[in-house]
Symmetry: D2
Subunit: 192 residues, 4 copies
């Protein structure tokens, strides 16, 4: 069976809410989701690295802090150099999602950092392939529609300064589900 | 007197509306704005290149088409290689603005293309330095507040599928003015 | 049979030499290579767009001019918006190669421009997955070894100021062949 | 007197050797260099943040690990959010340098991460503005010439698998000195 590892760090629960939505999508796509939560730059990453090695695809998740991935994910990326030496993740499929307080906030840079890491490992990268929400953005924040922001590199979402049970909104969560579903199906194709 | 060149291409008038707003800001900042409109990849860029050479700073403007600068601006950038050979723009200040149909659309990549070009020329780059709009983005599109999107590399704005007299909204135009004002003042400092 | 479209622009023949090497690799990988040469920003791109639509994968090639893709490729990217509206290239595999006068020259930005375009289309991206050449770079330019520069986003090569029959060197050409071979094989897997 | 803070992390001494070269260049440019070495993601960054706040300009230094800044620098960037809230570094000049085992290795991404952070803070960014080394790169690794790699976003250098007293080579160190000198002089102009 196809397995998709979801490796994420969450500061205040919003990235975690998205990780769960991505996992729901992975299941919807017919694959098993293996959720790995990173806690700190100082932790032992062996189990997390092994989980990616055992999976057919990996989806990275991180809040965007100061325009890039958070420190635990960066530390995980750096620790992956031991896999890089043997190109142990070569030909796997990779993807990513992020969340921040604004629509922008250089979240594409966060995703680009994930793409660079994935290319170093010889993995393939897939964006969500979800059309931009059809809303009037001068007057509508688009909270109920997938891809309200118009992102292509990965799933870009936005959370207000409130608890993770109310934000990011439903449209962003469905966007995350759609991405999980897509990656599950593409991974199954690559695995065949 | 400090002179700021504004070099832009506009497909449907929205980038032009922003270029005018940037020029208003430049004047507000005490400098002269020299607006240069690019028309086509096939045009003669000599006058446009000379205008940048004569200015203390340059602000590039482009719609974001398929995630990057439009073809006339790209052609202008390529034509600037003749100035690059002599590093004729070295130490000038550079900045940029863009507009697209969504909040995202890889508009940061458009600005990064402008940054890369500016660094090749040995210019300095300045973002707008305008704080993110304080709005609830789950419910508010922020049309009346500068920097509703939360951009740092340059001025990122959004226009709906309507004429340039109604979109991008006033907040985006004031964001462009604030950027013009900032670049004018910083250019004056560098020139001193 | 798997078909890989190679869409490139070449200013002085070096990118064309690489396009031919990529095509050799595609054949080595068991697929058909459909080479499409772009000539100008003003040309009709219909045939080139159709060729990509008909292929299982696409490999973009461009010289790096002033830190980005050349104008004809940018114009082709912009023209692809008509395919983008229907997401006609969704799920295809995409990849890229570039060449410039130095080892750097912001060639990763050129490849990132290709990645952004590919993600807008909902395509997958693959780098070359070729290990860095094992050379002493303080004393050895590595002309005979694939991936002497150490690139991961795509095939980055370097050409001196000489004719395309002597530069880029053999190692760079073999790097291009290896990439063509990889994309052919991955495309066949995705197609299955 | 103009003060330039040099904030860096060094894994094996190569980045430290470059930091010292940058500091020599800063002095050559008539300014005081304040060198701040980061040790770990878990350290207290208060003194380092204060040093940047007290300086007229900052030059970031990091090895490139897996295509991006090392973890201690990323942690420092994240910790700078407390300064970001008050835009305490606004209008300072920023710049960067990096080193890795190859000519490429996505080192431009490392510098882009520094640029993104600097733009979030409303700082200005300057590349080195040093012309590409005039060497035949098919046969010459250019160890004795500044900017052998051809980098524009910042100082990109390369170190072989040897001690920091022998690599990176003299050309790379002089490139670092030239950058320090440039930033010192530009900071003095901005401060005036």
């Amino acid at each position: 069976m196809t397995t998709v590892a979801i490796v994420y760090h969450s500061g205040y629960g919003h990235t975690e809410a998205l990780a769960k939505a991505v996992a729901e999508g992975v299941k919807r796509g017919g694959a098993t989701a293996n959720i790995i939560k990173l806690e700190s730059a100082a932790q032992d990453f062996t189990a997390a690295l092994d989980a990616v090695s055992a999976a057919d695809a990996v989806i990275f998740g991180s809040p965007t802090y100061m325009g890039d991935v958070s420190v635990p994910l960066r530390a995980f990326f750096e620790a992956s150099s031991k896999v890089w030496f043997t190109q142990g993740w070569k030909d796997k499929l990779a993807a990513g999602f992020t969340v921040g307080a604004t629509f922008g906030g250089n979240k594409d840079h966060t995703l680009t950092s994930m793409i660079v890491l994935s290319m170093q490992h010889g993995m393939l990268w897939s964006g969500p392939g979800v059309p931009n929400a059809q809303i009037n953005r001068n007057s509508d924040a688009g909270a109920n529609v997938p891809n309200r922001i118009g992102s292509a590199l990965g799933v870009v979402t936005q959370a207000d300064n409130a608890a993770a049970d109310v934000t990011p909104p439903e449209g962003d969560r469905e966007f995350a589900r759609l991405h999980g579903e897509r990656i599950a199906k593409l991974a199954a194709k690559l695995e065949a």
